[in-house]
């Protein structure tokens, strides 16, 4: 049975096609797995067994009639609890939305329904996706399946740990500054932050609107391609959704990619990168060189400013976006409030955790009239310089390779009292978010302590297909994505 838990979605799809088992059986098996190990992993905030089995049986009926909806029809998927699904909770990891039930489906949820997927449950996250360890969840601490004393990364730590531990073959996450890529690296699975505008944000409560994106987690690159196919595409309900041609991502795979120019940005290998991480990434680069790709040294000179710019822009946008959680319309309302204004102050005090308060206050400060020019406006200007670094680099190279995070997963509590140290976990991912580019992560090694190391592949806007092909070439020549935690 253990083999089933760690099979790819594609392999499970083949088993469904050969009728070696039904989607109902498959779904039941994964739900039993979750029930058995999630008390330890703590990846899921809620499960809906009855609804999942209903969806699975509907898939089985479609299969019997020859009316399958595609490659993920009947496959169980985990959803980060920040993506709306009608009738399901949408806590965003926050007490302020503890009793909220989504009145509608997010665009990606509709698309998953149209693809026949079985949405088994809602996965844990840092409150409002603010964090890099999932420790900021108001509900529970998700553990890293490779070593339960370590964090799974964040903010999509629940989705990453669920895929990693064989609780689901696929999951969706969201990435504002690294929230898919860093947990994928910490858990040793594949994750993709899509180009800004490729996947609709409709039904994703806004954190930092100018960088928020939804993307897939999977056990391997081919599955990542299949799940991306299901969710990508124009949606008129998201004003930043782009009208671009969506290729058949899966068909671009399984043959070696054409020789490419791969850029190695020296700033991503600077001080602060752990030696084991650096070695693993350098070995991956050497692999690509040996495969006939041209390795090109490049510079992204504004990289050192990416963290300050990101945390100014992000907190500013978040402070504005989170104003909607006011205790009036659809959130927790403080029973202690005595008048209307009091509802705001007390509901928000009771409903938000420390990190969310910290970021709202910082964001309000950088937007306040006395400091707006020095922080917010200036950060937006430096943001352009960061984006232009990438534009210049992509005149010389087709893709960029880097570490995903400066270290492997860290221990619980290690960075909780030092928010700035926690922010520095995102040093390799935030610039890509600010520039709106795609970033794909695959495992490229393990530390001596047995924790996974992630390679980040950064592409030109809307070149996900190319990134998938380059990533798969490495994956096929190594066994990292076939290693599973013993849990």
């Amino acid at each position: 049975m253990e083999e089933l838990f760690f099979k790819s979605a594609e392999a499970l799809g083949q088993m469904l096609a050969q009728k070696s088992l039904s989607s109902a059986e498959l779904t039941q098996t994964f739900i039993q797995r979750i029930k058995a190990i999630d008390p330890e992993v703590q990846a899921f905030l809620s499960l809906d067994e009855e609804k999942s089995l209903r969806q699975a049986r509907a898939s089985d009926e479609r299969r019997a009639k020859g009316q399958l909806l595609g490659p993920i029809d009947g496959i169980p998927i985990g959803m980060k609890d920040v993506i709306a699904e009608k009738g399901q909770p949408l806590t965003c990891g926050s007490k302020i939305l503890e009793h909220y039930i989504s009145p509608y489906d997010a665009a990606v949820t509709e698309r998953l329904h149209r693809a026949g997927a079985v949405l088994v449950g809602r996965s844990n996250l840092d409150e409002f996706a603010m964090g890099s360890s999932t420790e900021n969840s108001a509900y529970q601490k998700t553990r890293n399946p490779w070593n339960l004393e370590y964090v799974p990364g964040g903010s999509s730590g629940g989705s990453a740990a669920a895929v990693c531990s064989g609780e689901v073959p696929l999951a969706l996450g969201s990435d504002t500054g690294g929230s898919i890529r860093q947990p994928a690296a910490c858990c040793g699975i594949a994750g993709l932050k899509t180009t800004y505008g490729l996947v609709s944000r409709y039904g994703l409560p806004a954190l930092a609107s100018s960088t928020d994106q939804i993307g897939p987690f999977a056990r391997n690159v081919a599955d990542l391609a299949v799940l991306l196919q299901a969710i990508a595409g124009y949606d008129e309900r998201d004003s930043t959704s782009c009208r671009v041609d969506i290729p058949d991502y899966r068909r671009l795979l399984d043959r070696p990619p054409k020789p490419r120019r791969l850029g190695i940005p020296k700033e991503y290998f600077a001080e602060g990168i752990d030696g084991e991480v650096q070695r693993a990434v350098e070995e991956a680069i050497a692999f690509y060189g040996a495969q006939g790709h041209q390795i090109v040294d490049i510079s992204l000179p504004h990289t050192p400013y990416a963290i300050p710019v990101y945390y100014i822009v992000m907190t500013a946008e978040a402070s504005s976006n989170l104003a909607r959680y006011d205790g009036i319309r659809y959130t927790h309302r403080s029973p202690a409030a005595t008048n209307a204004l009091d509802i705001y102050f007390k509901s928000r005090r009771e409903g938000f955790g420390p990190e969310v308060k910290r970021r709202i206050i910082l964001g309000t400060y950088v937007l306040s009239s006395d400091h707006r020019d020095a922080y917010y406006i200036r950060a937006q200007k430096v943001r352009r310089l960061i984006a232009e670094d990438f534009s210049r680099a992509f005149e010389k190279v087709d893709a960029i390779l880097s570490p995903t995070a400066p270290t492997t997963a860290f221990k619980f509590g290690e960075k909780m009292n030092n928010p700035l140290q926690m922010y520095l976990s995102d040093i390799c991912t935030v610039a890509i978010s600010l520039a709106g580019l795609p970033g794909l992560v695959i495992p490229c090694g393990f530390s001596g302590a047995g924790l996974p190391i992630g390679l980040q592949l950064i592409g030109k806007a809307f070149h996900e297909g190319e990134l998938l092909a380059i990533a798969q070439q490495f994956e096929k020549a190594h066994d990292f994505s076939q290693r599973y935690p013993k849990i």
């Binding site: 930043t240 504004h302 204004l341 509802i343 928000r348 310089l385």
Partner: protein
Amino acid sequence: MENIDVDPIAELCRIALADEERKTIAEQLNTMLAYMAQIKAVDVEGVEPMLHASAIHSILRDDQPGESFPAETALLNAPEQKNNQILVPRIVE
């Protein structure tokens, strides 16, 4: 180093803070702002602010009424409601 006075900021963003919380947040924000201040060293002369990752502006749909939620659905999560409306304490005396 700047010293944030947290109270007026917390007032602006409508968050009540306990005394201890106020002290911790003030210390942490001062550390962060000192770190953020490094962007002041960047030459941004003539650089336009970048507000968004993509170049799309002002997407408007045709002014046609579309479907929207019935009131009951929209009020599904309201903390207090009456007669299809959200109930709040008296605002105007």
